[in-house]
């Protein structure tokens, strides 16, 4: 299990780094897919089957396609002349490494973080049902809001993208 974790975590982070480091937007997009696959595997290792699936379907499937589509549409080339200054790189890396170290410190300070994941006493395979039930009972209110959110997003995308307004 541990080995698997390290493998998938490596895939995930490597994919992430790929997004950041590669020049070509297309490569970045594909790296992201790789990263998300690793992530989905980790979800599944955590018995979150629904989330894992959604991660693949929504992110790797829909969102990435959208990204690729736009990249193609805009005909984006690799950033030929990367003029990112050394200062920026070092500064950015420094900032983020400090941030990462802060996260690690916090995790280290969390007693629960050192404990092994407790075993599940019941089967987690019905998580679709459980999540769904929760969503349509307790969380029906946020769900409605999400509905409005999506409506707004739809209207917004149309307004912004119409070639000519009627």
């Amino acid at each position: 299990m541990t080995a698997l974790f390290y493998f998938f975590a490596f895939v995930m982070l490597a994919g992430g780094l790929g997004v950041v480091l590669t020049r070509s937007p297309v490569t970045s997009a594909f790296s992201m897919v790789v990263s998300f696959l690793g992530l989905a595997a980790l979800f599944i290792m955590l018995h979150a089957y629904l989330i894992g699936t959604l991660q693949i379907l929504v992110y790797a499937g829909a969102i990435m396609v959208l990204f690729l589509f736009i990249i193609m549409l805009l005909d984006l080339k690799a950033e030929e002349d990367r003029k990112i200054s050394l200062f920026t790189v070092i500064g950015g890396a420094l900032l983020v490494s400090v941030f990462a170290s802060q996260i690690i410190k916090v995790v280290k300070a969390l007693p629960a973080a050192a404990e092994a994941m407790p075993e599940l006493s019941a089967s987690a395979s019905e998580d679709v049902k459980n999540t769904g039930l929760l969503m349509f009972t307790d969380y029906v209110f946020p769900l409605q809001i999400i509905g409005v959110l999506l409506l707004v997003a739809t209207v917004g995308v149309i307004v912004l993208s119409k070639k000519e307004l009627k």
């Binding site: 920026t88 500064g91 950015g92 900032l95 983020v96 400090v98 941030f99 802060q102 410190k105 916090v106």
Partner: protein, 608 residues
Amino acid sequence: MMEQLPWLILLLPLVSAATILFVARRVPNISALLSTGSALVTFVMSILFLGFGDDAVVPAYPWLWLGGTLEKGLVLEIGLQIDQLSRGMMFVVTTVGFLVHVFSLGYMRTDDGKARYFAGLSLFMFSMTGIVLANNFAMMFVFWELVGLSSYLLIGHWFQKDSAADAAKKAFITNRVGDFGFLIGILLVWAISQTVNFDRMETFFAGNPEVGSGLLAFAVICVFCGAVGKSAQLPLHVWLPDAMEGPTPVSALIHAATMVAAGVYMLARVAFLVEASELAAHVIAWVGGITALVAALMALQQDDIKRVLAYSTLSQLGYMVMAVGLLAAEAAMFHLFTHAFFKALLFLGSGSVIYACHHEQDIWKMGGLRKKMPLTFITFSIATLSLMALPWVTAGFYSKEAILAAAWHESAPLFVIAGFTAMLTAFYMTRLVLVTFFGKARTEHAAHAKESPPVMTLPLILLAIPSVIAGLPFFYERVQATAPEHHGEGSMLVLAASVITLIAGAGISFWLYKGASEDPLRIKLLARKFYIDEIYQGIIRVFQDGVATLLSIFDRYIIDGLIAQLPAYATASIGSILRRLQVGNLQGYAFLFALGVILLIWITLFNT
């Protein structure tokens, strides 16, 4: 009713002044008569006063009471003190005042600002009466300031003349310097004795002879500062000669007879204070003595007829102040009394001369007036002799002798100074008379001079009488003037001194100036009055105007810069620097965002 009468003598001139100011201004002749009329009434009333006993009580009115009820708290009253001192002084003030009013009717007949002039005179009469009758320091200070104002107005009567305008300003400001000390003195005396009322103060000091010696000396010297300013003692004497820019009757009344004597009067009023502090008494005596001497020296070389008289006045005031300091306030008051008459006479006489010579004041441009203006000459000579203290026949002799006697008793150096001053007095007065009235007329104006009209000569004659007899008991006792009791019993030495100095001074002067057409002595130091005016000018320019300009720059640039502009500039600069953070591109914002996140987390988590 009689109790309230004293209020009338105080308020009548005020009413007169106000009426002229607000109603009668446009009719100058009415104004003049109004003012003169009020002066006459007050003169009559002051004679009525003489019949008052010492126990005459005039109800006082509270003017301002502070810090509590009438019983508990500081009450500043308007109250009148009618004792011998004030009655005698009132007689002098109203007599000279009335005569000067009459004289002015002639002297100012054609003046444009006649109404203004008489309003000023009335205002002066009001203020001076207030000083004389005041029963407390606060009231005295109020009227002290008001005489300053009327003096300012009258000196600056011909305000379009630069010299007159400057002299008026100088007089007021110099007096204010004295008042600075005076006010502090009043406050200190109040703080020591818990009262500003003279009677209660006297009672207090009689009951507490040991009270705060050092502080008291300081307080008394501060009070004396007021007299230094008003009576033009060294070092604040500089305003009085300049004050001669005013019309001559004003010089006679205010700057010779009455107002300048107010300082001496005030010191006499609080003589118990001087007595309570030996140190202060010494200071006062020496200031007076030095003033007497220095002023006499300055008078030696003056060419302006009025200025000679002005320095003479200074010198005589010095005598009086010295006497106060020598704890002989009665002698001082006595000299004040006699001096008022003969000095007023001298000024009015000089006014008559000036009037006759078409406002020429330089004695070297006169000469030979003896024949053309006999009345003026005679009266002027009487007054001169009185000033020179011709033994036994003049008023001045008696009073001056009293002072010399006091000096002889108390302090040998001061006696020497006083004697020498007497000689100088004889010298410069002889010079004045010789150059003005004898010899030949040296200018056209002098040659065609005529005797002044009766309205002007009459006051001269009237004043000549007391100039002679005021020193005699039958007169001064009748008008209740204050005089030393042991008068006439001075030692032979004192008498000899006065005779010798008189003869020496007059003789040398006669020998030098007999028939001279120009001054044989040319002592520039004296002619320029020891350069004191120039020194003061310099001091004012450097220490007042210079410092003022420096401070003004300091205020404008340093204070404003430090307190206002620097913070404003700093704030704006920080604003501009902060604005630079708003780099405008997204990557920059992302960096700053990241920095913010890290700082925020760091402060939240690890900074406790």
